[in-house]
Amino acid sequence: MNRRGSFLLALLAAALIALPAFADNYLLSVATLCLFFAYTGQAWNIMMGFAGQLSLGHALYLGVGGYTAGALYFHYGVSPWIGVWFAIFVCIALGAFLGALAFRSGISGVYFTLLTIAFAEFARIGFDHFTWVGGSAGLFLKVSQQNWLDLRGPPALYYYVMLMLAALAFGLSAWLLRRRPGYYWQAIRENEEAASALGIDTFRWKLVAVVTSAAMTAVSGVFLVFYYNNLFPEQIFSINRSVEIILAPIIGGMGTLFGPIIGAALISLLADGATELVDVLGWNIPGVKQIIYGLILFAVVVFLPHGIWPSIARKLNLER
């Protein structure tokens, strides 16, 4: 990162920290969701963008993480600040299980992607019948007033939590990219056989990527439960969720640090703009928003296969 880049980054950070002082609750909720997608996209990016393992089942970690912390709070009153560690632990175990199964039996490419979907679908149907956490009727958390220990508070609290997470994820990704794991992952992504021939333990490093990504996504899940106070298997584990997660990094630019952030900002703006436009035109029928997502994804995949960040970076004279 050159000096110009650092300056721009500092400016962005200052603006984001100061935002709640100016913004109303609506804008703050849009910004919170935007940061949510930036953070979760960053998590997915580690697995796909860095290590080249395409997961279309990240809703699995979102759901399992959310259910773990949600159920601990619901049944035993465990604070989400503690529950999140259990969620991370469970998702690490789950990611390690999935990754080890897949990579041990040499499953890669399309087959790996389908395995991730199968696990998420399996979990969706499983949780539908898991009555301890409400089954298909859903899990509802008590809405208590203003207690930050239970992650209850004004919109600014959620905003700052998500801002902190997004900043941490950005820092972690930047750090990993400059260290051994980052180089190993990129080598595996570009050519797994060559990486293996160079002596990289590809099994181990692919597993590390899956586990890191799973742990980070678990935190997103916990946030989502305590933000919305409810959890339904049909929603949290749905393939639409998994697709929603991957939009930001793909549109922004896979494998880049700023891609997920730019992508998240763009889809939040577009989604918001689209909602308003649809209201104005009176086309308020289900499916409009998703079809706009679909068209954007289509346009990006066809015309900007590397996402929009690389071209912005070139214009601004930043490296990547």
Binding site: Y111, I250, I285, L295
Partner: protein, 291 residues
Amino acid sequence: MPIDFVSLTNVIISGILTGLVYGLMALGLSVIFGIARVVNFAHGEMMTLAMYASVIAFSTFGLNPFIAVLPVAALFFVLGYAMQRWIVNPFVTRPEHSQFMLLLSIAIILMNGQLMLFGPDAQSVRLDSLLESIELGPLLIDRGKLYAALVAVGTTAALFGFFRFTRGGTAIRACADNWLGAKVVGLDVNQLYALAFGLGTLCVAVAGCMMILLIDLTPAIGPGYTLLAFVIVIVGGLGSMNGALLGGVLIGLSEALAGLLILPSAKSMFSFALLIVVLLLRPRGLLGGNR
């Protein structure tokens, strides 16, 4: 719950008949993957589109699905051909995930387009002539399922015949075996890929016209059937035509039995468990070749 022999046999027959239609749907996916090398992530959405087409044919023109299947299949063949030619083909040389996302975006557009056009309410086609079951002693066979399975088997047989005995079919198989070799001997590879894609969408269109007799249609069922088709071809072996049929029958059976023995709503959990087991034990599927 004690299960008597007769109801068990009925469930098995119904599972096999449904499985044959599943098999045809999955055959489409298998042809598209095995020959055009495209992972068709919009397969289920294409099937629901064909189902809507046959609903419209029935409600507007009074055509029953057994007749509507002909124009719908022809239309889908052209659509599939055009789609491969102008949208998917430029992606053949791009990385795998790029093509994957292209089809995913097409799936999203198709599904939500259907949601916008046709609304979320369930639709179906019920023919009075199919209401009465065929009685074979104590066994009851659903007429709709039986005829749907016969059409599926007929289409499959025609496709097998095409690949086995015609010049076009042989050329397509050559192309699937060795892309470069096919090019060297002067085959128009792009043309053949588009032809294969068209045949794949034709299969899914016929399967869709038959499925409308068996299940209720909403736009939301698309992704589920995409996954089901993948489960079937992976269980049978991606790229293997016999495997797709075998996989279809196996999944149809396992769904029917799971519905009877465990919980109807857990039936697809059974299929996903089967997928995970097959992927782990025999990643190339039951009838897939060794790598």
